[in-house]
Symmetry: C2
Subunit: 257 residues, 2 copies
């Protein structure tokens, strides 16, 4: 009877993998866990027993593995950390998908919620602040790929000019430009900024608890065929909303990329 208060990196990975397998394939088989984690099947059995002892999975020999509520909470935490770190590396630092993914899966065990939250904040700030903005970030990525070429004194001048004209344009068009919409209207891949949360149901609370405020970024990940469960990503959290719930979230569309 060992009472290890904190979860080891290894067990966090098992939890993460189980969660993702269940999400993707409806069921997490020992075989698949082993394959994903590049580990032998007996190792998986061992891990499942350890997780069961900690009441994070429901497990009995030869039976189906499911996550307990506590296990799901823990798994989601890991998944979020992984996602946030990966996104930051890919979108802000211009690291390649594969490397970002692998690195994120190692870093995810080291960062606190605090740091992750701040990272999300910063990435959003960088992507949406008119003084920086998507183009600016993209410029950094470009600069990186071009490496040492062009110490950017020249292009820096051009960059500022561009920024000035952009801001002027924005001012001329004024605030009314923002075609107001609700989350329900966005298509997969589209992103928007929260304008406000209509209606005060449990969704509002759930979302507010995540640190979402006016101006927060939200991205529609997937919309089910009938438009009902809408998967969104917000503050690094993955969320599944019903159509009516999504209709209660006013957003302003954001340009792609």
């Amino acid at each position: 009877m060992t009472r290890t208060e904190t979860l080891s990196e290894s067990l966090e990975d098992y939890l993460e993998t189980i969660f993702l397998l269940i999400r993707e394939k409806a069921v997490a088989r020992s075989r698949d866990i082993a394959e994903r984690l590049k580990v032998s099947r007996p190792s998986v059995t061992g891990a499942l027993q350890a997780l069961a002892e900690r009441a994070l999975v429901n497990y009995e020999p030869y039976g189906h593995v499911t996550l307990t509520p506590a296990g799901e909470v823990e798994a989601k935490r890991v998944v979020r950390r992984h996602g946030v770190l990966k996104d930051f590396m890919v979108k802000v630092l211009s690291i390649g998908e594969a490397e970002a993914d692998a690195t994120a899966c190692r870093m995810e065990h080291a960062v606190s919620k605090n740091v992750v939250d701040r990272l999300v904040e910063f990435a959003e700030f960088v992507e949406t602040c008119p003084r920086a903005g998507a183009k600016w970030v993209h410029g950094f990525g470009y600069r990186c790929q071009e490496a040492a070429a062009d110490p950017s004194q020249q292009s820096c001048e051009r960059c500022i000019e561009q920024c000035l004209t952009d801001v002027k344009k924005r001012k001329q068009k004024g605030n009314k430009t923002i075609a107001s919409a609700t989350l329900k209207d966005l298509k997969p891949g589209e992103r928007g900024q929260i304008e406000r949360l209509l209606g005060g149901g449990p969704v509002k609370r759930r979302i507010a608890d995540m640190g979402v405020i006016k101006g927060s970024l939200v991205e529609v990940v997937r919309v089910a065929p009938l438009g009902d469960p809408i998967d969104i990503k917000i503050k690094g959290y993955h969320l599944s909303l019903r159509k009516e719930e999504a209709a209660g979230i006013a957003v302003s569309r954001l340009p792609e990329k």
Copy 2:
């Protein structure tokens, strides 16, 4: 005879600690290593034996511990990763010193040189690009500390105005404003941007190998009493230069903070 090609997180930490102790106190005693790493003394002995087997430290029972050249290289790598991650968290993300330090020491084992380099690039870009700049970063930190207060629509306007006036000023004053100096002229704590590397000695090569280009940030960390060994930080690397060498590096001063 075990040949583990890659160093474990644990051994990296021992190496890091030994390196820092030697730098600070001239000698790394088993007792101090144990204390810093919060580990028992026998554990240290074990680690030293493991490191000695890998030819990373010079070790014999009851003797002084020193790093072999290979060990020093490895240790410096770890120290740099730690420093870069910590700096990013403190300066860009506005995470507190203590938490940043602890987190950096866990993340340092997970990030590749590639990611660290990119992180340095990005932090420099963010701090020096006129469209972002130190004030802008600071604004983000401030926003974070103020938390949910002020979704920044208001202050965003003000921020842009400020940026515009700043850029205008910069233009009026023109390029001649940049009081050219050399690294030798900077005081501890001051930062500058590399203008060019005068003279083509080995220093130039050493520095160029680190990815330093025109525009790279450099910070003077410490200057010895007689002004001779000058400690600088550049691209996350720690470097010690002689006075003459520092005099060969043309920089433009950067405003504090």
